[in-house]
Amino acid sequence: MLKLDGVSKVYRVGAFGGRALTAVSGVGFEVGEGEVVSLIGESGSGKSTIGRMVLRLTQVSGGTITLDGRDISSIRDRKEYYRQVQGVFQDPFSCFNPIFRADRVFALIKEQYFPGVGAREWRGRVEDALESVRLDPGNVLGKYPHQLSGGQLQRMLIARAVLLDIRLLVADEIISMLDASTRIDVLNLLADLRARGLGILFVTHDLSLGNYVSDRTVVLRDGRIAEMGPTPLVFGDPRHPYTRSLLAAVPRLHTKWTDAPVDGTADGTAEERAEDLPCAYHEAAQGSRTRPGLAEVADGHFVACSGCAGAAPEEKKMKERA
């Protein structure tokens, strides 16, 4: 359904835009119907930028994003696109205009997309949508954002997307501002939506969340894909040293930090150790490099070069060719 192909984003920074900052470079993956793809990476890895590009809030510098084979930047009518693709952002408090009642987000949808629907029928639809995200309409309608909790606001935003009957939801860190008890509610809600055939691009920095919800996982590092594939493969058999160090850095529920082994959890040591391991990309057979910069080490499981010594001569060759 949604396909990213060699997508990159370059920002002009400095006085008169003299320098270029590459936030995302050559990223390609797909999100199918009823599929949850999680985009995992640390702060500044470009994951939110990808989400924003899919939502057309940021322009793509290179490559293409297509929806059902149509380049999304060629869809002139933004409304037509937003009827199919919607987003929910990280900070629910900032998503509501503080001076208006919270249900104004629904009113905007009605005004822009369903001007012909009668007030009573619309009210019914809103209530249904709120109930589908397990909110009590009487409790949240007519309130101001500061009178509602983060979890309630976040679920209202999901209800807003539900009202539009979308096909793809970009969920940008939607769980990170919620406390543990509302977290699981929202996650289960996503599972319900997915069962209805909704594709979800789940942007997160939380590996355990990614593991919990997603069918496929894309690990980003410095704007590039480090590793991607079916979630069980990526988490069960990580091939890229960065993925391994990320997995090693997750705190365990039953281990206190004082008991944890010192090596392997600290970032630096893990990466140093990783340098000794063979690079999965260069170890892989030549024929397996089916995507630019990625080698297919198992069925659907792609991994990039770990930045090993083997990369240097190749880069030289590329430059010579250029």
């Binding site: 809030l57 933004r78 409304k79 919607q86 987003g87 205009n97 503080p98 001076i99 822009q112 997309y113």
Partner: protein, 280 residues
């Protein structure tokens, strides 16, 4: 939403008091002159008479009716303040909103223009333009004041817009398919409505003061009277030294009351627009 704002507006004492004061002066300026059958500059009474039943605010050194001058002065003061203030606010808001929301080269261009107008010695330019054109009407005076006093408003609005446009609710409005002008008008501007109103009040006040300065050096409208012109006449004919308080107190108090009431209105409006500041 509108009814709700009205609901809180009518219950906000500051807003009501401020509005009443401004409205009283406005009505006095609009209707008052019609009730007086002589011109403000006519010599109708005894010279230097203190306030009395016949001449409520007394008379000037030359026997002109201060009350009549005050009413006519209110009218031209409101006129210059409103025209100059509205023009400066409109230019400032358009430039500020567009520069802040669009960013990029549009922003750089508009900021450059803003800075150029900002560093122009506005009063000197006004002097030259006024003297060169020989213009003597309130409207043209307001036009020049409006076109030179908008830059700081544009800069402040641009900065506010910058910080507001990166908020998620703006992105959410874009995801709802709302167009840019509507986003500026309905999402960004309401968040700074009290600030916009304050901007208008300050521009209104400064337009009045600039007009008074121009009047003082003989470049104001000569065919009518303004509160600033009254003050300056009073100063020129030593009203203070001669103890003729009735000549300079009404225009001074009038300007202070109008601008002060607008300020109190602004505080009240802030509470009406921002639910967090409501006391109920």
């Amino acid at each position: 939403m509108r009814n709700e704002a009205l609901h809180f507006a009518l219950r906000n004492r500051k807003l009501v008091v401020g509005t009443v004061v401004v409205a009283v002066f406005l009505v006095a300026g609009v209707v008052g002159p019609m009730t007086i059958d002589h011109k403000p500059a006519d010599y109708v009474g005894p010279a230097m008479a203190p306030p009395s039943g016949e001449f409520w605010f007394g008379t000037t050194t030359f026997g002109q009716d201060v009350f009549a001058q005050f009413l006519y002065g209110l009218r031209s003061t409101f006129l210059v303040g409103v025209l100059g203030g509205v023009l400066a606010s409109v230019v400032g808001m358009v430039v500020g909103f567009v520069a802040g929301y669009r960013g990029g080269w549009v922003d750089e261009l508009l900021t450059m223009v803003t800075n150029i107008v900002l560093v122009l010695p506005a009063l000197v330019v006004l002097l030259i333009v006024n003297a060169y054109l020989g213009v003597r009407s309130v409207g043209v005076q307001a036009l020049f004041i409006g076109l030179t006093s908008w830059p700081w408003a544009a800069r402040a609005i641009r900065a506010q817009t910058f910080s507001l446009r990166s908020r998620d609710f703006v992105d959410l409005a874009r995801l709802s398919g709302v167009r840019t002008p509507k986003i500026i008008l309905r999402e960004i501007a309401p968040n700074m409505s009290s600030y916009l109103f304050l901007t208008f009040i300050l521009l209104f006040g400064s337009a009045i003061l600039i007009a008074a300065s121009l009047d003082f050096i003989g470049l104001g409208p000569t065919d009518s009277v303004s509160l600033g012109l009254m003050l300056n006449n009073a100063a020129r004919w030593s009203a203070l030294q001669l103890g003729m308080w009735w000549w300079f107190v009404p225009p001074g108090a009038g300007i202070t009351a109008i601008v002060g009431a607008l300020y109190v209105m602004n505080v009240g409006l802030d509470e009406v627009f921002n639910p967090k500041l409501r006391e109920m």
